[in-house]
Symmetry: C3
Amino acid sequence: MTERPGEGRRAAVLTVSDRVSAGTASDESGPRLADLLTALGFEVTRATVPDDVDQIRDQLEAALGSHDLVVATGGTGLAPRDVTPQALAGLLEYEIPGFGELMRAEGRRSTAMASLSRSLGGVARRRLVLALPGSPSGAIESLEAVIPLLGHALSTLAGEAGGHPRTATEEAGPWT
Amino acid sequence: MTERPGEGRRAAVLTVSDRVSAGTASDESGPRLADLLTALGFEVTRATVPDDVDQIRDQLEAALGSHDLVVATGGTGLAPRDVTPQALAGLLEYEIPGFGELMRAEGRRSTAMASLSRSLGGVARRRLVLALPGSPSGAIESLEAVIPLLGHALSTLAGEAGGHPRTATEEAGPWT
Amino acid sequence: MTERPGEGRRAAVLTVSDRVSAGTASDESGPRLADLLTALGFEVTRATVPDDVDQIRDQLEAALGSHDLVVATGGTGLAPRDVTPQALAGLLEYEIPGFGELMRAEGRRSTAMASLSRSLGGVARRRLVLALPGSPSGAIESLEAVIPLLGHALSTLAGEAGGHPRTATEEAGPWT
């Protein structure tokens, strides 16, 4: 695990928002997430998509082909057009429940409303996929909450740290 | 968001219990939940149903037609007849994982047994549905844990607070 | 609920690991879990299985026939061969979300990596099934986190403590 978990890796940031896609609102979360991921060493690309299940899924699938980490922001709340988790449900091979639990638990330090976010982390085609809130503060705080996990998660998914520690020597390694 | 989250809204309380339905046990949780919801400003109706998946689902569906919030109490444990979450699985459009996480996390302050409750919150037909424990203390403590979320959740589901904050001005709003 | 939750009960420990099954790694987690369960009063049997969905499921199903508690260790991480939760998905009647939440929350006191474990608890054929990390420390710490729940969970599943508390007298009992 390198100190900068993004070193040598590519990340995609997908802003999910009808209004940003239509050009009637400015995107703050996407650029801020991109800056943070760049600071972590990732080579970052960005895209925007409306709150539409099929379009979100298509964009996520396209991003999976060439990125180690795919981060969506927006569409995790309860508004009628919030459908990002539904789009991910058809795409993920499995969820990693600790990501959502941790993002909400940390978010509650800022606001009780963090409990309403259906943020999540999961795996598709051996890539790590995160769905973060759409608000800039919610998005950044959620990503910050899981930074300590990124290096080990990405190297394990890539098969660089496979297997389970089974001997005393290995025990100092991963806990999972 | 009003100070009293139930102002101008209707809530249904559904007591799920074979024994209460058969008249062989008194219902304490239902009336207590109704009192608390009334104090929060809701207009409350109550009903009782046995621990039967089909009957629970039918009653929940009926309640969804005319209430903003539907609260079930009972059937979230591990007894052979505890089937409320199973009944909800076929009904909910999606779960809001933070509700169950928060109810159990807060419940653990009272008793370790709170971890055994399959309490949950979710959305069906744009209504908020909660499944709470059947014990009076478990039910009340679980509802109390999520009171801070009710106003924003119900107004967002109703489309009164749609969209995602995308500008600095909006950032003071919802985090999701 | 007895003080020793395993008194009069049987537990199976299933070590899920390609390398242990192939004899190329020693099994530390399985024996340690067996020792802990024995100390809790359980009569314990052990088995080993490779990281293969079908073989894991077959072994779990076999164990369900004659044990009150079935504990798998290994395969909860993100490595390509980590498939224990996938194997359980086809077997469990329902999940008990508080088990995974509690194991990860307690695990985070030791290491942030605990959030990456897809540990879980659930019910199949009225038996309690736990999936724990494969590392010895992760496995033991996760089991220790849920020991306070075992007695009530197993007696409720066995129908020994059925029903919901509905009167003031009963209220001192289970919270679920």
